[in-house]
């Protein structure tokens, strides 16, 4: 037996039932010998991730978008405020790669600057959902009993309402409210806060369910029971036994969600209740491009292209990570 035998490599296309069993047992023995099943599985997952071109393409795109969000002037020579009304709605040229919009502003520059709002919403909402959902899921799974029931049922309720519908109601009722709990919620960061808030408020159940089920999965195991009996704190048990198992699916759900939040933010802005002009965001720009669509489709095309690529990058990354950690999904 060499160290090349791994749990995943052995299963696909395995012969009959008993053969497959045999190879898995064998693999398990090897994995145990290599100090812990999860570690060798993880190492294998990263190896297959590194071989996946989709992983590299999506990572590169995400890095570029992140850079755009943090340091937009790196990508463009025009100032964001630049506009030349005499050059309104020009098609792409050497001076204006993506052409100009109705105000005569450089669409390329605006599209680059527009990345910030989308990335900000996506990253903040995902972080919030990850924190809130994981925390509630860990509590529900660990404490159990009526606490579990309460959190799970609450999750059902928040999960029952479609995100777009609830976003519309939430944002339209806050449209003219200057502060929420003392926090100013108008202006660039205010509106981003609103959007993030509604996504977190209604997005946490997916992560909660995931974390809860991983806790419930490991809790009855003898070694966890033994650790508890020996006085290991819940924190330690969660860090040692729950998180290693839940990490990969949580990352997958979070990255795919990140893409979905970017798309949802753009949709709300496009509907006119998310970010609004003069804020620059892809959704706002697409809304701007609506009226002159027939004559100047490029005004709408470029921000839409960037938006789609950004969403694609995150979903692609999520897909790649899932394929790596769950080879059966291929």
């Amino acid at each position: 037996m060499t160290d090349k035998t791994t749990a995943q490599g052995a299963t696909p296309g395995g012969p009959g039932n008993d053969e497959a069993d045999a190879t898995t047992t064998r693999a398990a023995v090897v994995a145990e010998a290599a100090d812990g099943t999860s570690r060798s599985l993880t190492a294998d997952a990263f190896r297959s991730l590194r071989r996946n071109p989709f992983f590299w393409i999506s990572s590169a795109l995400i890095v570029i978008f992140m850079l755009m969000a943090v340091w937009p002037s790196l990508f463009t020579t025009y100032d964001l405020g630049f506009n030349d009304l005499s050059r309104s709605r020009e098609t792409p040229s050497g001076a204006h790669w993506f052409g100009t919009d109705t105000q005569g502003a450089d669409i390329y520059t605006r599209t680059v600057y527009g990345a910030r709002a989308s990335i900000l919403v996506g990253v903040l909402a995902t972080t919030g959902v990850l924190l809130l959902g994981s925390l509630l899921g860990l509590i529900a799974g660990y404490v159990g009993g009526w606490v579990d029931t309460l959190i799970s049922r609450l999750g059902d309720i928040f999960f029952a309402i479609p995100l777009l519908l609830v976003g519309i109601i939430f944002l339209s009722s806050l449209q003219d409210t200057p502060t929420l709990l003392g926090i100013p919620i108008q202006g660039y960061f205010g509106v981003i806060f609103q959007v993030v808030l509604v996504f977190v408020l209604f997005g946490w159940p997916s992560l909660m369910r995931l974390m809860r089920s991983s806790v419930i999965q490991v809790k009855p195991n003898d070694y966890v029971q033994a650790a508890r009996a020996l006085g290991a704190t819940p924190m330690r048990i969660i860090r040692r036994h729950v998180l290693p198992n839940a990490m990969a699916p949580a990352i997958v759900v979070a990255t795919i969600n990140l893409g979905a939040y970017i798309a949802a933010e753009a949709t709300l802005s496009f509907l006119g209740i998310g970010l609004r002009p003069p804020t620059v965001s892809w959704g706002v720009m697409i809304n701007d491009g609506l009226t002159p669509l027939r004559a100047s489709p490029h005004i709408l095309f470029f921000p839409a292209l960037f938006l789609s690529i950004a969403v694609l990058a995150f979903i692609m990354l999520g897909d790649a990570v899932r394929d790596a950690f769950d080879p059966k999904s291929r």
Binding site: K4, G13, P15, D18, E19
Partner: protein, 336 residues
Amino acid sequence: MSTQTTPATGEQHLLEVEDLHVEFHTSEGVAKAINGVDFSLDEGETLAILGESGSGKSVTAQAIMGILDMPPATIPAGRVLYKGQDLLTMPEEERRLTRGPEISMIFQDALSSLNPVFPVGWQIAEMFRVHRGVNKADAYAQAIKLMERVNIPAAKDRVKAYPHQFSGGMRQRIMIAMAIALDPKVLIADEPTTALDVTVQAQIMALLQELQEEFRMGLILITHDLGVVADVADRIAVMYAGRIVERAEVGDIYARPGHPYTKGLLESIPRLDQKGQKLSAIGGLPPNLTRIPPGCAFHPRCVMAQDICRTERPELLDVGPQRQSACHFSQEVLDA
């Protein structure tokens, strides 16, 4: 009882497997699941194929049935003669028509092997409807008869019930009813009792034997459990790493195993008359089929292994009347 030696004895067996090879092409390399298996089966005879997980016994069964997934499986060599006709070279459509009326198979886990979304009666009746074109009502009537035949109580009321509503033993009876629906000549039972309680195991084995006598079927019983085999089988073929390592009549093997592997298997069964003695199990694990050891595949686990075992593969040779063993030291094993 027919003799089992090389083919071309002139006399035609019901089923004859010759030099069968099966390989699986996986990402890890080529897994050689079966490496030249020969055996024959006659009407009314029970052949037990014995081996650990991964020995190739289930793959052999599936290759005979023609239900291996190809790819990843390939059959690079061998013949499976049924009444003298090679099933492996037969056109697929013709071969399909042999499944059910000629050769039939039951599986280990009846719960997962029955379709969960169709009533059991429907699944039995399907045999009559597809192969014989019987109409729905008649097919159901036949299904009820079969369910009664395999001793399912209240068959008439339960014909429309779903698999998950039956107990494990009852589900295996349903599998059996389905398999014998069209009076097959060969029945392959792949670990038919492994998933069941001990008392139910005995009932199912009794039922299989009863049906075999009634229909004069040739029965191939695949199992890893020597205990199941003892009362039922006429002959036993022991498989290891895709080869038959020993073949004999059932009494001979129990009395005097001719291969260290068989011996190890026998010694790992707890016995009443040896109470208090240490139970010995065979050390180590079956080999990875992509890297079968050179020489005798069993040598890394064999207590008797010598240098020759590591380099030269022992052939399956006659070691007594109607028995063969593939071991350089078979005589020593027999004499021990």
